[in-house]
Protein backbone atom coordinates (compact mmCIF):
# COMPACT_ATOMS: atom_id res chain seq x y z
CA UNK A 1 0.00 0.00 0.00
CA UNK A 2 2.35 2.67 1.21
CA UNK A 3 5.89 3.14 0.07
CA UNK A 4 7.07 3.84 3.58
CA UNK A 5 5.78 0.62 4.97
CA UNK A 6 6.72 -1.49 2.04
CA UNK A 7 7.65 -5.01 2.78
CA UNK A 8 11.33 -4.29 3.22
CA UNK A 9 10.81 -2.10 6.29
CA UNK A 10 8.05 -4.19 7.78
CA UNK A 11 10.09 -7.32 7.26
CA UNK A 12 13.03 -5.81 9.18
CA UNK A 13 10.63 -4.59 11.86
CA UNK A 14 8.97 -7.94 12.29
CA UNK A 15 12.17 -9.97 12.00
CA UNK A 16 15.02 -7.70 12.98
CA UNK A 17 18.60 -8.68 12.29
CA UNK A 18 21.27 -8.48 14.99
CA UNK A 19 18.79 -8.28 17.81
CA UNK A 20 20.17 -8.91 21.29
CA UNK A 21 23.07 -8.07 23.58
CA UNK A 22 26.65 -9.20 22.87
CA UNK A 23 28.32 -10.70 25.89
CA UNK A 24 31.19 -10.00 26.09
CA UNK A 25 31.36 -6.72 24.16
CA UNK A 26 33.84 -3.88 23.81
CA UNK A 27 31.53 -0.93 23.27
CA UNK A 28 28.03 -0.16 24.50
CA UNK A 29 25.70 2.81 24.29
CA UNK A 30 22.02 3.38 24.97
CA UNK A 31 19.91 6.31 23.90
CA UNK A 32 16.32 7.34 23.42
CA UNK A 33 14.07 9.79 21.64
CA UNK A 34 12.16 11.44 24.44
CA UNK A 35 9.50 12.87 22.16
CA UNK A 36 8.15 9.48 21.14
CA UNK A 37 9.59 7.12 23.73
CA UNK A 38 11.73 5.14 21.28
CA UNK A 39 14.64 3.41 23.03
CA UNK A 40 17.81 1.86 21.62
CA UNK A 41 20.85 0.07 23.03
CA UNK A 42 23.83 -1.16 21.01
CA UNK A 43 26.76 -3.47 21.81
CA UNK A 44 29.85 -3.89 19.62
CA UNK A 45 32.62 -6.47 19.67
CA UNK A 46 35.97 -5.53 18.09
CA UNK A 47 38.60 -7.59 16.28
CA UNK A 48 41.98 -8.02 17.95
CA UNK A 49 43.13 -4.89 16.04
CA UNK A 50 40.76 -2.96 18.36
CA UNK A 51 39.48 -0.84 15.48
CA UNK A 52 37.47 -3.20 13.31
CA UNK A 53 33.96 -4.32 14.19
CA UNK A 54 33.70 -8.09 14.62
CA UNK A 55 30.11 -8.23 15.73
CA UNK A 56 27.18 -5.99 16.65
CA UNK A 57 23.77 -6.32 18.26
CA UNK A 58 20.96 -3.96 19.24
CA UNK A 59 18.01 -3.96 21.53
CA UNK A 60 15.21 -1.47 21.38
CA UNK A 61 11.56 -0.69 21.31
CA UNK A 62 9.64 1.86 19.39
CA UNK A 63 8.21 2.43 15.98
CA UNK A 64 8.83 0.33 12.90
CA UNK A 65 11.11 2.95 11.38
CA UNK A 66 13.44 3.15 14.36
CA UNK A 67 13.63 -0.63 14.73
CA UNK A 68 14.01 -1.38 11.03
CA UNK A 69 16.66 1.28 10.69
CA UNK A 70 18.63 -0.32 13.53
CA UNK A 71 18.29 -3.71 11.88
CA UNK A 72 19.48 -2.36 8.52
CA UNK A 73 22.26 -0.18 9.92
CA UNK A 74 23.75 -2.88 12.13
CA UNK A 75 23.88 -5.19 9.10
CA UNK A 76 26.42 -2.84 7.53
CA UNK A 77 28.79 -2.45 10.46
CA UNK A 78 30.75 -5.71 10.56
CA UNK A 79 34.22 -5.30 9.08
CA UNK A 80 34.10 -1.52 9.29
CA UNK A 81 36.62 0.40 11.35
CA UNK A 82 35.59 2.75 14.11
CA UNK A 83 36.86 5.67 12.04
CA UNK A 84 34.75 4.59 9.11
CA UNK A 85 31.70 4.41 11.34
CA UNK A 86 32.41 7.82 12.84
CA UNK A 87 32.57 9.23 9.32
CA UNK A 88 29.19 7.77 8.39
CA UNK A 89 26.86 10.30 6.80
CA UNK A 90 23.42 10.23 8.37
CA UNK A 91 21.97 10.81 4.91
CA UNK A 92 23.44 7.42 3.94
CA UNK A 93 21.41 5.83 6.71
CA UNK A 94 18.25 7.44 5.35
CA UNK A 95 19.15 6.36 1.82
CA UNK A 96 19.69 2.82 3.09
CA UNK A 97 16.11 2.81 4.37
CA UNK A 98 15.08 3.57 0.83
CA UNK A 99 11.79 5.24 1.68
CA UNK A 100 10.98 8.92 2.15
CA UNK A 101 11.25 10.06 5.76
CA UNK A 102 9.29 13.17 6.70
CA UNK A 103 10.78 15.78 9.02
CA UNK A 104 8.79 14.59 12.01
CA UNK A 105 10.20 11.08 11.65
CA UNK A 106 13.87 11.91 11.15
CA UNK A 107 14.64 11.19 14.76
CA UNK A 108 12.90 7.82 14.49
CA UNK A 109 15.03 6.96 11.48
CA UNK A 110 18.26 8.27 12.98
CA UNK A 111 18.04 6.99 16.55
CA UNK A 112 20.09 3.92 15.60
CA UNK A 113 22.65 6.15 13.88
CA UNK A 114 22.92 8.32 16.98
CA UNK A 115 23.22 5.32 19.27
CA UNK A 116 25.97 3.78 17.13
CA UNK A 117 27.82 7.10 17.13
CA UNK A 118 27.57 7.17 20.90
CA UNK A 119 29.07 3.68 21.08
CA UNK A 120 32.04 4.46 18.80
CA UNK A 121 32.68 7.93 20.23
CA UNK A 122 33.11 7.17 23.88
CA UNK A 123 29.53 7.77 24.90
CA UNK A 124 28.89 11.17 23.37
CA UNK A 125 26.37 11.57 20.60
CA UNK A 126 24.33 14.44 19.22
CA UNK A 127 21.41 14.36 16.85
CA UNK A 128 22.61 15.03 13.33
CA UNK A 129 21.93 18.64 12.34
CA UNK A 130 19.12 17.58 9.98
CA UNK A 131 17.16 15.94 12.79
CA UNK A 132 17.78 18.58 15.43
CA UNK A 133 14.84 20.36 16.88
CA UNK A 134 12.25 18.40 14.94
Amino acid sequence: MDNLYRDFILEHYKNPHNKGVLDPHDLHYADSNPTCGDEMSITLLLESDRVTVADVAFEGRGCAISQASASILTDTLRGQTLDQIRALDPQAVLDELGVPIGPARLKCALLSYKTVQGAVSGGVAEWPEMAEAM
Binding site: M1, D2, K14, C36, C63, I65
Partner: protein, 422 residues
Amino acid sequence: MAVETSKQVIPGAFSGTALRGDFPVFDRPTGSGQRLVYLDAAASSPKPRTVIDTMADAYGHHYANVHRGIYELSEDATRRFEQARKAVAGFIGAPSEREIVFVRNATEAINLVAYSWGRTNVHSGDLVVTTQLEHHANIVPWQQLTREVGAELAYVGLTDDGQLNLDDFEAAIARGPRLVCVSAVSNALGTINPVAELTAKAHAAGALVLLDIAQAAPHMPVDVSAIGCDFAVLSGHKMLGPSGIGALWGRRELLDAMPPFMTGGNMILRVTLEGAEWNTVPQKFEAGTPAIVEAIGLGAAIGYLNALGMASVREHERYLFEHAWAALHEIEGVRLLGPGDPAIHAGVISMDIEGIHPHDVATVFDSLGVAVRAGHHCAQPVMDRYGLPATTRASFYVYNDLDDVTALTDAVRACQRLFGGA
Protein backbone atom coordinates in the same frame (compact mmCIF):
# COMPACT_ATOMS: atom_id res chain seq x y z
CA MET B 1 -21.03 8.19 -1.05
CA ALA B 2 -20.06 11.81 -0.56
CA VAL B 3 -23.27 12.78 -2.28
CA GLU B 4 -25.25 10.59 0.00
CA THR B 5 -23.65 11.88 3.18
CA SER B 6 -24.02 15.48 2.14
CA LYS B 7 -27.61 14.90 3.11
CA GLN B 8 -26.55 13.99 6.66
CA VAL B 9 -27.86 17.14 8.20
CA ILE B 10 -27.92 16.63 11.91
CA PRO B 11 -31.08 18.05 13.43
CA GLY B 12 -30.32 21.62 14.45
CA ALA B 13 -26.82 21.50 13.03
CA PHE B 14 -25.24 21.64 9.56
CA SER B 15 -23.63 19.38 7.00
CA GLY B 16 -19.87 18.98 7.39
CA THR B 17 -19.72 17.59 3.87
CA ALA B 18 -21.23 20.75 2.50
CA LEU B 19 -18.95 22.98 4.54
CA ARG B 20 -15.87 21.35 3.01
CA GLY B 21 -16.57 23.50 -0.02
CA ASP B 22 -15.66 26.52 2.09
CA PHE B 23 -12.17 25.21 2.81
CA PRO B 24 -9.71 25.32 -0.11
CA VAL B 25 -7.47 22.68 1.46
CA PHE B 26 -9.98 20.00 0.55
CA ASP B 27 -9.32 20.70 -3.12
CA ARG B 28 -5.76 19.60 -2.54
CA PRO B 29 -4.99 16.15 -3.90
CA THR B 30 -3.20 14.01 -1.32
CA GLY B 31 0.04 12.26 -2.24
CA SER B 32 -1.84 9.00 -2.29
CA GLY B 33 -4.45 10.48 -4.61
CA GLN B 34 -7.22 10.04 -2.05
CA ARG B 35 -9.34 12.85 -0.68
CA LEU B 36 -7.95 14.53 2.40
CA VAL B 37 -9.59 13.38 5.62
CA TYR B 38 -8.40 16.02 8.03
CA LEU B 39 -8.66 14.87 11.63
CA ASP B 40 -6.13 17.17 13.28
CA ALA B 41 -8.13 20.28 14.16
CA ALA B 42 -6.92 20.05 17.74
CA ALA B 43 -3.39 20.82 16.51
CA SER B 44 -4.51 23.50 14.09
CA SER B 45 -7.50 23.96 11.87
CA PRO B 46 -7.81 24.59 8.13
CA LYS B 47 -8.98 28.07 7.11
CA PRO B 48 -12.21 28.84 5.32
CA ARG B 49 -12.04 30.94 2.17
CA THR B 50 -13.63 33.90 3.95
CA VAL B 51 -10.69 34.15 6.35
CA ILE B 52 -8.14 33.87 3.55
CA ASP B 53 -9.98 36.40 1.40
CA THR B 54 -10.48 38.84 4.26
CA MET B 55 -6.76 38.74 4.97
CA ALA B 56 -5.78 39.12 1.32
CA ASP B 57 -8.13 42.07 1.03
CA ALA B 58 -6.81 43.61 4.25
CA TYR B 59 -3.20 43.20 3.14
CA GLY B 60 -4.00 44.44 -0.33
CA HIS B 61 -6.32 47.36 0.32
CA HIS B 62 -6.61 48.22 4.01
CA TYR B 63 -3.14 47.81 5.38
CA ALA B 64 -1.09 50.36 7.31
CA ASN B 65 0.26 50.51 10.81
CA VAL B 66 -2.47 51.05 13.37
CA HIS B 67 -3.27 53.48 16.16
CA ARG B 68 -1.12 56.49 15.41
CA GLY B 69 -1.48 57.02 11.69
CA ILE B 70 -3.19 60.28 10.77
CA TYR B 71 -4.30 59.24 7.33
CA GLU B 72 -7.25 57.41 5.90
CA LEU B 73 -5.49 54.10 5.26
CA SER B 74 -4.20 53.83 8.80
CA GLU B 75 -7.56 54.81 10.23
CA ASP B 76 -9.17 52.16 8.10
CA ALA B 77 -6.70 49.52 9.33
CA THR B 78 -7.15 50.64 12.93
CA ARG B 79 -10.92 50.42 12.67
CA ARG B 80 -10.77 46.88 11.28
CA PHE B 81 -8.21 45.81 13.87
CA GLU B 82 -10.26 47.16 16.76
CA GLN B 83 -13.38 45.64 15.27
CA ALA B 84 -11.68 42.25 15.55
CA ARG B 85 -11.02 42.91 19.22
CA LYS B 86 -14.74 43.53 19.68
CA ALA B 87 -15.48 40.29 17.85
CA VAL B 88 -13.25 38.29 20.18
CA ALA B 89 -14.79 39.92 23.24
CA GLY B 90 -18.28 39.13 22.01
CA PHE B 91 -17.35 35.58 21.10
CA ILE B 92 -16.22 34.63 24.61
CA GLY B 93 -18.63 36.82 26.56
CA ALA B 94 -16.05 39.33 27.79
CA PRO B 95 -17.71 42.42 29.25
CA SER B 96 -15.48 44.80 27.28
CA GLU B 97 -13.13 44.61 24.31
CA ARG B 98 -10.63 46.59 26.34
CA GLU B 99 -10.10 43.40 28.32
CA ILE B 100 -8.91 41.59 25.20
CA VAL B 101 -5.14 41.58 24.70
CA PHE B 102 -3.90 40.35 21.34
CA VAL B 103 -0.97 37.94 21.60
CA ARG B 104 0.60 35.38 19.25
CA ASN B 105 -1.08 32.33 20.75
CA ALA B 106 -2.44 30.80 23.93
CA THR B 107 1.11 30.03 25.02
CA GLU B 108 2.12 33.68 24.97
CA ALA B 109 -1.06 34.61 26.81
CA ILE B 110 -0.19 32.24 29.66
CA ASN B 111 3.39 33.45 29.75
CA LEU B 112 2.14 37.02 29.91
CA VAL B 113 0.07 36.20 32.99
CA ALA B 114 2.91 34.19 34.54
CA TYR B 115 5.43 36.98 34.02
CA SER B 116 3.26 39.99 34.75
CA TRP B 117 0.63 38.88 37.24
CA GLY B 118 2.68 35.97 38.52
CA ARG B 119 5.92 37.79 39.31
CA THR B 120 3.89 40.45 41.11
CA ASN B 121 1.44 38.29 43.03
CA VAL B 122 3.02 34.92 43.68
CA HIS B 123 5.61 34.89 46.42
CA SER B 124 7.82 32.48 48.25
CA GLY B 125 5.73 29.80 49.94
CA ASP B 126 2.63 30.50 47.86
CA LEU B 127 0.81 27.77 46.01
CA VAL B 128 -0.20 27.60 42.36
CA VAL B 129 -2.42 24.75 41.20
CA THR B 130 -2.57 23.26 37.75
CA THR B 131 -3.65 19.82 36.57
CA GLN B 132 -2.12 16.73 35.10
CA LEU B 133 -4.18 17.01 31.93
CA GLU B 134 -2.89 20.39 30.87
CA HIS B 135 -1.06 21.19 27.68
CA HIS B 136 2.61 21.98 28.34
CA ALA B 137 1.71 25.63 27.81
CA ASN B 138 -0.30 25.52 31.04
CA ILE B 139 2.39 23.67 32.99
CA VAL B 140 5.89 24.85 32.13
CA PRO B 141 5.30 28.60 32.67
CA TRP B 142 4.00 27.75 36.15
CA GLN B 143 6.98 25.48 36.83
CA GLN B 144 9.23 28.39 35.87
CA LEU B 145 7.31 30.93 37.94
CA THR B 146 7.06 28.84 41.08
CA ARG B 147 10.70 27.78 40.87
CA GLU B 148 11.82 31.37 40.41
CA VAL B 149 9.89 32.83 43.32
CA GLY B 150 10.10 29.81 45.58
CA ALA B 151 6.44 28.96 45.41
CA GLU B 152 4.92 25.50 45.11
CA LEU B 153 3.19 24.01 42.07
CA ALA B 154 0.59 21.32 42.76
CA TYR B 155 -1.11 19.13 40.17
CA VAL B 156 -4.66 17.87 40.28
CA GLY B 157 -4.53 14.22 39.27
CA LEU B 158 -6.70 12.26 36.85
CA THR B 159 -9.15 9.43 37.13
CA ASP B 160 -8.62 6.30 35.07
CA ASP B 161 -11.11 7.50 32.49
CA GLY B 162 -9.38 10.84 32.01
CA GLN B 163 -11.34 13.17 34.21
CA LEU B 164 -9.95 15.54 36.80
CA ASN B 165 -9.90 13.90 40.18
CA LEU B 166 -12.27 16.15 42.08
CA ASP B 167 -11.11 14.96 45.49
CA ASP B 168 -7.62 15.98 44.49
CA PHE B 169 -8.97 19.30 43.35
CA GLU B 170 -10.76 19.91 46.65
CA ALA B 171 -7.64 19.01 48.59
CA ALA B 172 -5.49 21.37 46.52
CA ILE B 173 -7.99 24.21 46.84
CA ALA B 174 -8.21 23.71 50.56
CA ARG B 175 -4.54 24.70 50.77
CA GLY B 176 -5.39 28.23 49.62
CA PRO B 177 -3.64 28.62 46.27
CA ARG B 178 -3.11 32.05 44.72
CA LEU B 179 -4.08 30.80 41.27
CA VAL B 180 -5.74 27.77 39.70
CA CYS B 181 -4.87 27.04 36.05
CA VAL B 182 -7.07 24.63 34.21
CA SER B 183 -8.16 23.91 30.68
CA ALA B 184 -11.81 23.88 29.72
CA VAL B 185 -11.14 21.01 27.31
CA SER B 186 -8.12 18.69 27.30
CA ASN B 187 -6.35 18.54 23.95
CA ALA B 188 -4.86 15.12 24.71
CA LEU B 189 -7.97 13.34 25.98
CA GLY B 190 -10.91 15.45 24.90
CA THR B 191 -12.25 15.71 28.42
CA ILE B 192 -14.58 18.64 29.07
CA ASN B 193 -13.95 19.95 32.55
CA PRO B 194 -16.67 21.39 34.81
CA VAL B 195 -15.10 24.83 34.73
CA ALA B 196 -17.92 26.88 36.25
CA GLU B 197 -18.00 24.58 39.24
CA LEU B 198 -14.20 24.52 39.55
CA THR B 199 -14.08 28.32 39.29
CA ALA B 200 -16.69 28.79 41.99
CA LYS B 201 -14.79 26.49 44.33
CA ALA B 202 -11.46 28.14 43.60
CA HIS B 203 -12.95 31.56 44.21
CA ALA B 204 -14.48 30.41 47.46
CA ALA B 205 -10.98 29.40 48.51
CA GLY B 206 -9.64 32.83 47.56
CA ALA B 207 -7.83 31.79 44.39
CA LEU B 208 -7.97 33.39 40.98
CA VAL B 209 -8.70 31.15 37.99
CA LEU B 210 -6.94 31.08 34.64
CA LEU B 211 -8.90 29.13 32.07
CA ASP B 212 -7.20 27.66 29.03
CA ILE B 213 -9.98 27.77 26.43
CA ALA B 214 -7.69 26.99 23.48
CA GLN B 215 -9.62 23.74 22.82
CA ALA B 216 -12.99 24.95 24.03
CA ALA B 217 -13.54 28.27 22.28
CA PRO B 218 -13.26 26.71 18.79
CA HIS B 219 -15.72 23.94 19.51
CA MET B 220 -18.46 25.02 21.91
CA PRO B 221 -20.08 28.13 23.36
CA VAL B 222 -17.83 29.71 25.98
CA ASP B 223 -18.91 32.62 28.16
CA VAL B 224 -16.17 33.79 30.49
CA SER B 225 -18.56 36.10 32.32
CA ALA B 226 -20.97 33.26 33.02
CA ILE B 227 -18.14 30.95 34.08
CA GLY B 228 -16.80 33.70 36.29
CA CYS B 229 -13.09 33.02 35.73
CA ASP B 230 -10.43 35.71 35.92
CA PHE B 231 -8.24 35.06 32.89
CA ALA B 232 -8.83 33.09 29.70
CA VAL B 233 -6.48 32.29 26.83
CA LEU B 234 -7.03 31.13 23.27
CA SER B 235 -5.27 30.68 19.93
CA GLY B 236 -6.74 31.88 16.64
CA HIS B 237 -5.20 29.13 14.53
CA LYS B 238 -7.26 26.44 16.27
CA MET B 239 -10.54 28.19 15.51
CA LEU B 240 -10.35 28.67 11.72
CA GLY B 241 -8.26 31.82 12.15
CA PRO B 242 -4.71 32.67 11.08
CA SER B 243 -1.48 31.65 12.72
CA GLY B 244 0.30 34.29 14.75
CA ILE B 245 -2.75 35.58 16.62
CA GLY B 246 -4.31 34.68 19.94
CA ALA B 247 -5.94 36.44 22.82
CA LEU B 248 -5.71 36.89 26.52
CA TRP B 249 -8.83 37.96 28.31
CA GLY B 250 -8.51 39.27 31.84
CA ARG B 251 -10.78 41.13 34.21
CA ARG B 252 -10.16 44.84 33.80
CA GLU B 253 -9.13 45.52 37.38
CA LEU B 254 -6.56 42.72 37.21
CA LEU B 255 -5.13 43.93 33.90
CA ASP B 256 -5.07 47.51 35.18
CA ALA B 257 -3.05 46.52 38.22
CA MET B 258 -0.55 44.35 36.36
CA PRO B 259 2.83 45.67 35.23
CA PRO B 260 3.62 45.36 31.52
CA PHE B 261 5.19 42.20 30.17
CA MET B 262 7.04 43.31 27.06
CA THR B 263 7.90 46.97 26.61
CA GLY B 264 8.53 49.27 23.65
CA GLY B 265 6.35 51.26 21.30
CA ASN B 266 2.55 51.49 21.56
CA MET B 267 2.45 50.35 25.20
CA ILE B 268 3.81 53.63 26.56
CA LEU B 269 2.35 57.07 27.07
CA ARG B 270 5.62 58.89 27.51
CA VAL B 271 9.27 57.89 27.46
CA THR B 272 12.14 59.98 28.74
CA LEU B 273 15.73 59.01 29.40
CA GLU B 274 14.72 58.50 33.02
CA GLY B 275 11.81 56.16 32.54
CA ALA B 276 8.44 55.50 31.00
CA GLU B 277 4.73 55.84 31.74
CA TRP B 278 2.48 53.00 30.61
CA ASN B 279 -0.48 53.23 28.32
CA THR B 280 -3.88 51.92 29.45
CA VAL B 281 -5.10 48.38 28.73
CA PRO B 282 -5.08 46.61 26.41
CA GLN B 283 -2.27 48.60 24.74
CA LYS B 284 -0.13 48.33 27.88
CA PHE B 285 0.33 44.67 26.96
CA GLU B 286 0.73 45.10 23.21
CA ALA B 287 4.30 46.24 22.73
CA GLY B 288 5.33 46.99 19.17
CA THR B 289 3.39 46.58 15.98
CA PRO B 290 0.71 43.95 16.52
CA ALA B 291 -0.32 41.12 14.21
CA ILE B 292 -2.75 43.51 12.56
CA VAL B 293 -4.11 41.50 9.65
CA GLU B 294 -4.01 38.28 11.65
CA ALA B 295 -6.34 39.87 14.20
CA ILE B 296 -8.62 40.92 11.35
CA GLY B 297 -8.49 37.35 10.03
CA LEU B 298 -9.46 36.03 13.44
CA GLY B 299 -12.41 38.38 13.37
CA ALA B 300 -13.47 36.83 10.06
CA ALA B 301 -13.11 33.33 11.52
CA ILE B 302 -15.33 34.33 14.41
CA GLY B 303 -17.85 35.67 11.92
CA TYR B 304 -17.88 32.29 10.17
CA LEU B 305 -18.31 30.41 13.45
CA ASN B 306 -21.02 32.76 14.64
CA ALA B 307 -22.92 32.20 11.42
CA LEU B 308 -22.85 28.45 12.08
CA GLY B 309 -23.68 29.02 15.72
CA MET B 310 -21.43 27.60 18.40
CA ALA B 311 -24.19 25.46 19.86
CA SER B 312 -24.56 23.82 16.45
CA VAL B 313 -20.82 23.35 16.16
CA ARG B 314 -20.83 21.54 19.47
CA GLU B 315 -23.84 19.45 18.45
CA HIS B 316 -22.18 18.53 15.15
CA GLU B 317 -18.99 17.39 16.83
CA ARG B 318 -20.83 15.53 19.50
CA TYR B 319 -22.67 13.61 16.81
CA LEU B 320 -19.42 12.68 15.08
CA PHE B 321 -17.80 11.80 18.39
CA GLU B 322 -20.57 9.43 19.37
CA HIS B 323 -20.37 7.58 16.06
CA ALA B 324 -16.59 7.42 16.08
CA TRP B 325 -16.32 6.33 19.68
CA ALA B 326 -18.85 3.56 19.18
CA ALA B 327 -17.21 2.33 15.97
CA LEU B 328 -13.68 2.38 17.36
CA HIS B 329 -14.84 0.73 20.54
CA GLU B 330 -15.87 -2.27 18.50
CA ILE B 331 -12.40 -2.81 17.06
CA GLU B 332 -10.36 -5.30 18.99
CA GLY B 333 -6.96 -4.08 20.11
CA VAL B 334 -8.00 -0.43 20.20
CA ARG B 335 -7.85 1.28 23.57
CA LEU B 336 -9.71 4.57 23.83
CA LEU B 337 -8.67 7.20 26.36
CA GLY B 338 -10.81 9.74 28.16
CA PRO B 339 -14.40 9.56 29.33
CA GLY B 340 -16.94 7.71 27.19
CA ASP B 341 -19.78 10.02 28.16
CA PRO B 342 -20.35 12.36 25.20
CA ALA B 343 -21.62 15.07 27.53
CA ILE B 344 -18.11 15.52 28.89
CA HIS B 345 -16.08 14.57 25.83
CA ALA B 346 -15.26 16.99 23.03
CA GLY B 347 -14.62 15.92 19.44
CA VAL B 348 -11.15 14.59 20.22
CA ILE B 349 -10.38 10.88 20.42
CA SER B 350 -7.03 9.69 21.72
CA MET B 351 -6.31 6.00 21.22
CA ASP B 352 -3.72 3.30 21.45
CA ILE B 353 -3.66 0.54 18.86
CA GLU B 354 -2.13 -2.47 20.48
CA GLY B 355 1.34 -3.32 19.22
CA ILE B 356 1.62 -0.46 16.75
CA HIS B 357 3.52 2.68 17.58
CA PRO B 358 1.43 5.82 16.99
CA HIS B 359 4.12 7.18 14.68
CA ASP B 360 3.63 4.19 12.43
CA VAL B 361 -0.12 4.57 12.70
CA ALA B 362 0.07 8.18 11.55
CA THR B 363 2.32 7.31 8.63
CA VAL B 364 0.04 4.53 7.48
CA PHE B 365 -3.01 6.76 7.92
CA ASP B 366 -1.31 9.46 5.88
CA SER B 367 -0.88 7.03 3.03
CA LEU B 368 -4.66 6.65 3.13
CA GLY B 369 -5.24 10.40 3.09
CA VAL B 370 -6.15 10.48 6.77
CA ALA B 371 -4.34 13.19 8.76
CA VAL B 372 -4.18 12.48 12.48
CA ARG B 373 -1.72 13.45 15.17
CA ALA B 374 0.62 10.94 16.77
CA GLY B 375 2.72 11.83 19.76
CA HIS B 376 2.39 13.22 23.23
CA HIS B 377 0.27 16.18 22.08
CA CYS B 378 2.38 18.51 24.22
CA ALA B 379 0.87 16.79 27.22
CA GLN B 380 3.52 14.35 28.39
CA PRO B 381 2.15 14.18 31.95
CA VAL B 382 -1.05 12.76 30.46
CA MET B 383 0.95 10.13 28.57
CA ASP B 384 2.89 9.29 31.73
CA ARG B 385 -0.36 8.96 33.65
CA TYR B 386 -1.66 6.32 31.26
CA GLY B 387 1.68 4.59 30.73
CA LEU B 388 1.98 5.39 27.03
CA PRO B 389 4.80 7.12 25.19
CA ALA B 390 2.33 8.55 22.73
CA THR B 391 -1.19 8.14 21.37
CA THR B 392 -2.92 8.49 18.04
CA ARG B 393 -5.38 11.36 18.16
CA ALA B 394 -8.24 12.13 15.81
CA SER B 395 -10.03 15.45 16.25
CA PHE B 396 -13.15 16.69 14.51
CA TYR B 397 -14.35 20.05 13.35
CA VAL B 398 -17.10 21.61 11.32
CA TYR B 399 -15.98 20.21 7.92
CA ASN B 400 -15.94 16.58 9.08
CA ASP B 401 -18.76 14.14 8.47
CA LEU B 402 -19.64 10.48 8.93
CA ASP B 403 -17.55 9.57 5.87
CA ASP B 404 -14.56 10.80 7.81
CA VAL B 405 -15.53 8.62 10.75
CA THR B 406 -15.67 5.67 8.37
CA ALA B 407 -12.31 6.63 6.86
CA LEU B 408 -10.88 6.66 10.37
CA THR B 409 -12.14 3.24 11.35
CA ASP B 410 -11.14 1.83 7.95
CA ALA B 411 -7.65 3.20 8.46
CA VAL B 412 -7.38 1.59 11.89
CA ARG B 413 -8.30 -1.76 10.40
CA ALA B 414 -5.90 -1.32 7.47
CA CYS B 415 -3.12 -0.53 9.88
CA GLN B 416 -3.87 -3.59 11.95
CA ARG B 417 -3.85 -5.75 8.85
CA LEU B 418 -0.51 -4.33 7.73
CA PHE B 419 1.13 -4.93 11.07
CA GLY B 420 -0.86 -8.08 11.64
CA GLY B 421 2.05 -10.42 11.80
CA ALA B 422 4.19 -8.25 14.04
